[in-house]
Amino acid sequence: MNEIDLERDLTEAQRAELGDLSAVTKLLVSYEVADPTPSETDLLLAKLKPVLAERTAPEPIESPLSPSRAFSSQAWLGVARAQIEILPLGFWLAGVAVGTLGLFVGFAAGAEWLITLIVLLAPLLAAGGVAYTFRPETRGLEELERISVVGPLELLYIRLGVVLAFNGSISAALMLALGLGGMDVVQLWRLVLVWLGPMIGLAGLALYISVRWHTIAGTIVPLVLWAGAILFGWREIVARVEWTPATSLYRVAAAWLIAQINNSDGLLLAASIALIVGLFLMQQAGQTVMRNRTA
């Protein structure tokens, strides 16, 4: 430390007043503080260099990381295949069981019964499948999925797609069997709409409730709603059909449903609305998933 002559800055009068300052000087000299070590200086530099880089480059700096690319169809398929691999066996068995039952009923009891089965069961199967797939137990992976390259929204839709594609393909296979069997009792496009509308509607509802609240509610709410719709339809039938002891009420009901599919524009409208609502709810579920990230 350089000895600083403190008196140099003082006037004659001040010097006289203060007198001997050597003790004060000695004291001041003794107050030493440590210099930074070379590694501390290096550390400081390491922290400052990014600041410098940012200051001198107001434009975003070129990153040595390769920018993310748009997803190839192969990558999408890979992710979809991965979903298939982690879905539990019970999910697949339930779908196959319903399909087998449908085929059996169709050939044994006739086309009307098969159509009734498709229309009544497909939405339940889809809603149940969705709620089951998004149950909390499978969400243990969620955190790890959320930081994957694919992204949470894409994963949600891929998984939903896998579930709906599987359930849909079972109904489609049954309808194909219907067509091949020459049982053309309905116009196919009308049947598809009446089948697809409630299926997407209930699946959307199940997904939204499962993601937003809980998977149990996601199962129960669509189930109750659908049961209500069936009961309402049943009441209509009972009220309108001319009842004789010889008629089988179930056969009448099936025939009534076929007639409705072929003739009722109201039913088609309702199915279309269910389809739109279902798609909207799926989109909302996606929004919910994205919001979770910023929460």
Binding site: M1, N2, I4, L6, D9, L10, Q14, E17, L18, G19, L21, A23, V24, K26, L27, L28, S30, Y31, V33, A34, D35, P36, E40, T41, L44, L45, K47, L48, K49, V51, L52, A53, R55, T56, A57
Partner: protein, 185 residues
């Protein structure tokens, strides 16, 4: 020949890492010592040094005529902001006149030499210095430890030369009074 601080700083503003490295090597130690003495806290001083350099780097106004004075000004103002509540409280609440009546610390040694030795041994010099009003303390630190001229100190603390002179005088007087108070409780 060495580049001047001002020339180096112009290079830093153009983004030169080499110039930044040189500036940091020149100023890390003096600024750290300065802030350490001002705040009496090594960790705060380290944070403040980093913040000082960050400010110097991101500054986009006119480059300073005298880099050294300016660096001390930035460091001093940051310390002042951060420690307004604690360290600079003294400045507002106490005037120099109070110091004559004040009886600081405890000690019963009977010579100035011994007191100085004792204070040094107990590492209490910093405590003694911290008892100075902040305005006097910073002038003393800049003058004694960093060899800034009175004019430069005036630029750093933003005061006219006359006031700087009287603060330095008051600081020395107070310090001497404190030392004597150690001897004659």
């Amino acid at each position: 020949m060495q580049d001047t601080d001002e020339a180096l700083y112009r290079e830093v503003r153009r983004g030169s890492e080499a110039a930044l490295t040189e500036i940091v090597h020149r100023y890390h130690a003096p600024l750290l010592r300065f802030l350490h003495r001002l705040t009496d806290n090594r960790m705060s001083a380290e944070d403040l040094v980093q913040e000082t350099f960050t400010r110097l780097i991101i500054y986009r106004g006119e480059p300073p005529h005298n880099f050294r004075t300016w660096a001390y000004t930035v460091a001093r103002n940051l310390a002042r902001d951060q420690f307004k509540s604690a360290y600079f409280r003294l400045e507002e609440s106490e005037s120099f006149e109070d110091w004559d009546e004040r009886r600081p610390m405890s000690a019963a040694d009977n010579s100035l030499e011994e007191t100085v030795a004792a204070v040094m041994q107990r590492h209490e010099i910093n405590l003694l210095l911290q008892q100075l009003p902040a305005a006097a303390h910073e002038v003393l630190v800049l003058r004694f430890y960093h060899d800034l001229s009175l004019e430069q100190i005036g630029a750093v603390v933003g005061l006219p030369l006359g006031t700087v002179k009287s603060r330095l005088f008051n600081a020395l007087k107070t310090l001497k009074t404190l030392l004597h108070a150690e001897i004659t409780p």
